[in-house]
């Protein structure tokens, strides 16, 4: 990687103790360090730290952007507790997250295993990655067209197969699965590449030993591949869950929350309350709840799934 690397006499620790060559490092480059992080610090402070605090503050206020925020304590949260639209958005998002986890993980795992068996070429991996590089908006429009009820190509196939046409975006039972399918299409290859990288890291001799012991392919998969892939699978699960909870673009471009409330996911509901109904306090309160859910997901990942530890070590 680095052309800088010359043969070194001793491997020196990358961080920590100052160089023995005196005068190279007086402990503390604080001044110059401040200069180097100054721009990032501005961005960090004004667009991450302050808004995070302000977001929590706003959730305790009533704020319609025209006047000043008015402190109302827990009012927004008590209102949330009895807001059917909020509970519906949670349920709808949960459904979407669940479908994504199942579809994406299963398909990606299968794809990664296939790639591992027969094709490692960049061309194959690149082709699978193509949808991931497209924006949500493009993925949404492309499928909005292909899944059109009247002249969409998918419904043409469905009709040929002798099945009645499906109103993918227009029926309440299909709206969320359709959104999940679009998202799965977009992310399937990317997730497969992550898992594929994990498969590549499993040492070959582990499999050879299993073969010598007479393990069947299924046993090998269950007892070796899956456990050794655990850190990657956990990462994939967390990324998928956290990403899915924040679905917005495809919904905004295609169904806009409908039909009825079938696709009014959490982030779309926040958007509606804050930006179309100018209710920033209430919108912020829902955002706090979403934040807490995502923090919980990350916490569960760290505590219970031991995602950072690999059985390889």
């Amino acid at each position: 990687m680095t052309t800088l690397a010359k043969p070194t006499r001793t491997a020196r620790p990358q961080t920590g103790a100052p160089s023995p060559r005196g005068g190279y490092r007086r402990l503390g480059d604080l001044k110059i360090a401040l200069l180097f992080i100054a721009p990032a610090m501005i961005g960090f402070t004004f667009f991450y730290v302050v808004p995070t605090i302000r977001g929590v503050y706003l959730s305790f206020t009533e704020y319609s952007i025209l006047g000043d925020p008015e402190w109302v304590g827990l009012d927004n949260y008590t209102a949330l507790a009895t807001d059917p639209l909020f509970w519906n958005s949670l349920a709808v998002t949960g459904q979407y997250v669940f479908l994504n986890i199942v579809l994406q993980t299963a398909l990606a795992l299968g794809l990664a295993l296939l790639m591992h068996q027969v094709a490692k070429s960049t061309l194959v991996r690149g082709a699978l990655l193509l949808p991931y590089l497209m924006s949500n908006v493009i993925a949404a429009l492309l499928w909005f067209w292909m899944l059109d009820y009247q002249i969409g190509v998918v419904n043409q196939f469905i009709e040929w197969a002798g099945i009645p046409r499906i109103a993918f975006f227009g029926s309440e039972e299909w709206a969320i699965p359709t959104q999940a399918l679009i998202n799965t299409w977009r992310h399937m290859g990317y997730t497969a590449l992550l898992i594929f990288a994990g498969l590549q890291a499993i040492p070959h001799h582990v499999y050879e030993v299993a073969k010598l012991d007479g393990a069947s392919p299924f046993q090998t998969f269950r007892k070796i591949t899956i456990p050794l892939l655990r850190p990657v699978l956990v990462l994939v699960l967390v990324v998928t869950v956290i990403g899915s909870f924040q679905v917005f673009d495809t919904v905004a471009v295609t169904t806009q929350g409908g039909p009825v409330n079938a696709t009014r996911v959490i982030q779309y509901y926040i958007y509606q309350r804050a930006f179309t109904e100018s209710d920033f306090g209430y919108g912020s309160a829902i955002a706090v709840i979403l934040f807490l859910i995502l923090a919980l997901v990350a916490f569960i990942q760290m505590k219970f799934l031991k995602g950072n530890e690999s059985d390889l070590d």
Binding site: L4, F47, P51, T122, S135, A197, F291
Partner: protein, 308 residues
């Protein structure tokens, strides 16, 4: 990377002994199916974009364009008269795609250049300089990766509004231009692994940190910097939510937002599918070009990064 090569080499002889069997053929078939599902929609989009709207319904099963025409692309770029557009089954709605294209280029370029450069500076301070509180500050920076974008989007919108920067390019780029937590994380990894030898030699010659940064660290990190810039640019090009909130007026509206507008402008009865698909392709074109040019770099970065 090196493991890939050595492992392939180790596996290859065993494979050659059985060049074909049913399992491998089945695996290939499934893999090709997945590739088809990934790639074919783009061909269908192209086919639609080259069709005439009025013929789409009657020739909905043909793989070739229905009544081939460049009309949809002309329409997208504002080169088709409303009369011709309506004759081809378009809505006749005018959309200034050149303007959106320009805005997308400006928005993505500025945010990418700023975020990569300033993040590199910060990453240098986190990886190569020693100062009290360094690890604490770095952890705080990383912690912001956990904050969902929607959560900061509301207060950030209010800030930009209070600064009177709504519908300005400055307001659109400000939250991204100084840093992204991922960029700092990504570059710090590379800077940590750089050899200290040349840096020390330069030090002894009296070079200052700024010179080391510009003349040694940045040139030697050209490859990771380019990969990061590529990933950042694609991510920014595809950004929708923030530009939707802040840049809703024509003079700063980016392509992604413009696409949504174009879609909703189509009258409910007969959407301008050809125009919409042509617009979609135009919006995807820069990413497709980057992918054609740097596909290997992008693909190889996936295993490393974990999260985009």
């Amino acid at each position: 990377m090196s493991t890939t090569i050595s492992r392939t080499a180790a596996v290859a002889p065993a494979r050659r002994r059985r060049p074909f069997n049913a399992r491998r053929a089945g695996a290939w078939a499934l893999l090709l199916l997945a590739i088809a599902v990934s790639v074919l929609p783009f061909l269908w989009v192209l086919r639609t974009a080259l069709s005439t709207n009025s013929s789409l319904a009657s020739q909905s099963a043909s793989l070739l364009p229905a009544d081939f025409t460049w009309g949809a692309f002309l329409r997208v770029f504002g080169l088709q008269s409303p009369a011709d557009a309506i004759a081809e089954g378009g809505s006749g709605a005018a959309i200034d795609f050149w303007l959106y294209l320009r805005n997308s280029v400006i928005f993505s370029s500025i945010t990418t250049a700023g975020a990569v450069f300033f993040s590199a500076m910060a990453a240098y301070a986190f990886a190569r300089l020693r100062w009290r509180g360094r690890n604490t500050v770095f952890s705080l920076f990383l912690g912001t990766m956990l904050v969902p974008p929607i959560f900061t989007a509301l207060p950030n919108f209010l800030l930009i509004k209070n600064l009177d920067l709504l519908n300005t390019m400055l307001g659109m780029v400000l939250p991204y231009v100084f840093m992204t937590p991922f960029a700092i994380f990504f570059l710090r990894q590379f800077f940590l692994n750089m050899s200290r030898e040349v840096e020390e030699a330069a030090m002894l010659d009296g070079a200052k940190h700024l010179r080391i940064f510009f003349q040694i660290v940045l040139p030697n990190a050209a490859a990771p910097l380019a990969t990061l810039a590529l990933l950042t640019f694609i991510g920014q090009w595809n950004e929708y939510f923030w530009p939707l909130l802040v840049g809703s007026q024509d003079d700063v509206r980016v392509l992604q937002v413009g696409l949504g507008v174009f879609k909703s402008q189509s009258p409910q009865g007969s959407p301008d599918w050809s125009g919409l698909m042509a617009a979609t392709l135009v919006s995807a074109l820069p990413v497709l070009i980057l992918f054609a040019a740097f596909g290997k770099k992008i693909v190889n970065s996936i295993g490393f990064s974990g999260i985009k």
